[in-house]
């Protein structure tokens, strides 16, 4: 007897429960997503496919809760890092991500989609999150940087990220930050505190300005992509990025070029400067 289920929610978000098998004496539910299911209905169909009966199912848990997963001995990262990934998943629309292979399964976290680990011991540490084009939506909040202290690479290009927290300043190990092709409208000035950052790609967002203050410590920054935004200004502090090799400011709304003065010692390493498609006159 064929059956379908509808009306389910998982943690208050819509989700579908798939029935893999059913018998006259019992039905096994195999949802595709771990978590808490409520509001599920079992539709009993007759032989021509019409609903003959509806059974309201009680709330049930499929699999371990995320907290249980994070505490599991096979999870080889610190609890706080696992919980930060869990928050990242739930806050940033994880159920709609294109890929989340192995997430919240009790295996080596290095096999979780997009996650890379570092460390030689049994316990390892998250040092990379690379999930380009993964349908990630929302705000990047503090937990990623406060709770994952070894994070060196964060590549979330081509998603739907709307803000970046000023707590980015706590990502003291961050070397590569790629947030191009998102929906960012501004970048917190605290990004200037990332003294290890060497690659920063913020192209193809909606940035109207890019500001650094005089205390910026971007002493390792080699590459800065700010092209294809709607920048009308960049702060003069950009001139003090003395390791910078590549600076793209093309396709913006700049009316004046960099505020270069006759001072020496500005942008001394710069190899390539692109200011095409602006409003320079």
């Amino acid at each position: 007897m064929p059956t379908i289920v509808s009306g389910c929610t998982i943690d208050d978000a819509n989700a579908e429960v798939r029935i893999s098998q059913g018998t006259a004496t019992g039905i096994t539910l195999e949802p595709t997503v771990l978590g808490v299911y409520s509001g599920c209905q079992l539709h009993i169909l007759d032989h021509i496919g019409l609903t003959s009966n509806i059974i309201n199912l009680p709330t049930f848990v499929y699999g371990d809760s995320i907290d249980d997963v994070c505490a599991h001995p096979d999870i080889n990262i610190p609890l706080a890092e696992c919980q930060a990934l869990a928050t990242f998943y739930t806050d940033m629309d994880g159920v709609n991500w294109t890929y989340d292979t192995n997430w919240f399964t009790e295996v080596d976290v290095d096999s979780w989609y997009g996650i890379s680990l570092t460390g030689a011991g049994v316990t390892k540490y998250v040092n990379g999150i690379s999930m380009p084009s993964n349908n990630i939506a929302g705000d990047i909040l503090d937990y990623l940087f406060l709770d994952i202290p070894n994070l060196a690479t964060l590549d979330l290009r081509n998603n739907s990220i709307t803000t970046l927290t000023s707590d980015i300043e706590f990502a003291s190990a961050l070397k590569t930050l790629i947030l191009s092709q998102n929906d960012l409208l501004n970048i917190p000035v605290e990004i200037g505190n990332l003294s290890q950052l060497d690659y920063l790609d913020l192209a193809y967002n909606g940035l109207t300005s890019f500001n650094l203050d005089a205390s910026q410590q971007l002493d390792q920054l080699d590459v800065l992509y700010l092209n294809n935004n709607v920048l009308t200004s960049v702060s003069s502090e950009i001139l003090n990025l003395n390791e910078l090799d590549i600076l793209t400011l093309n396709n913006n709304q700049l009316t004046t070029a960099l505020p270069l003065t006759a001072n020496t010692g500005q942008l001394v390493q710069l190899d390539s400067l692109n200011l095409a498609y602006n409003l320079l006159s």
């Binding site: 090799d245 093309n250 070029a257 270069l260 003065t261 006759a262 001072n263 020496t264 500005q266 942008l267 001394v268 390493q269 710069l270 190899d271 390539s272 400067l273 692109n274 200011l275 095409a276 498609y277 602006n278 409003l279 320079l280 006159s281």
Partner: protein, 184 residues
């Protein structure tokens, strides 16, 4: 400032003047100022000791300064679609030039000095106002692979063109002689 800069792209803006003083561009290899509102070449050239590619296409530049002979490292000059009427003799000093694009300008005299630039591979001079004979010096351009000098008012019956080689001969045959093409 910018002593390491090798690529500077300022294309597609509304820049009307670009002065290269005040910046140390001693390492600049490519200068792209295409599609702006320049009426003169970015200068002074003396500040560009290593420049290899200059693109000033699609501006309103009226002449090439005589001091262009200072750009001794220049390999490619893109200056199409300007209002250039005058080509200085000093252009011939740039013996490393392999590509010259001067089509769609207002040049009235064929720049015969180009015949001294024997490394030249590409020469675009089409759609100008040139009159008179195609200079005999062009027969020196044995490396030439592409030449477009159509859409001018040139005399097409130069006997010496029969001695031409390669691309220039093809051009001659297709544009002037017509004979070889007709026989093919």
């Amino acid at each position: 400032m910018l002593p390491d800069l090798d690529t500077l792209i300022l294309s597609d803006n509304s820049i009307s003047t670009l002065t290269l003083t005040g910046a140390n561009l001693s390492n600049l290899y490519t200068l792209n100022v295409k599609n702006n509102n320049l009426t003169t070449f970015p200068q002074p050239f003396g500040n560009l000791p290593l420049v290899s590619v200059i693109d000033v296409s699609d501006n309103d530049i009226t002449s090439i300064p005589a001091s262009i002979n200072l750009l001794t490292t220049l390999k490619q000059l893109f200056a199409s679609r300007n209002d250039i009427a005058f080509i200085p003799t000093g252009l011939a000093d740039l013996v490393g030039l392999t590509r010259i694009y001067l089509n769609d300008n207002l040049i009235t005299n064929f720049p015969s000095q180009i015949g001294n630039i024997t490394a030249l591979q590409v020469l675009y001079l089409y759609n100008n106002q040139m009159t008179g004979a195609v200079p005999t010096t062009l027969t020196n351009l044995t490396a030439l692979t592409s030449i477009y000098i159509n859409s001018n008012k040139l005399n097409r019956t130069n006997a010496h063109l029969a001695e031409m080689q390669g691309a220039l001969l093809s051009w001659y045959n297709s544009r002037v002689g017509g004979k070889s093409r007709a026989n093919q």
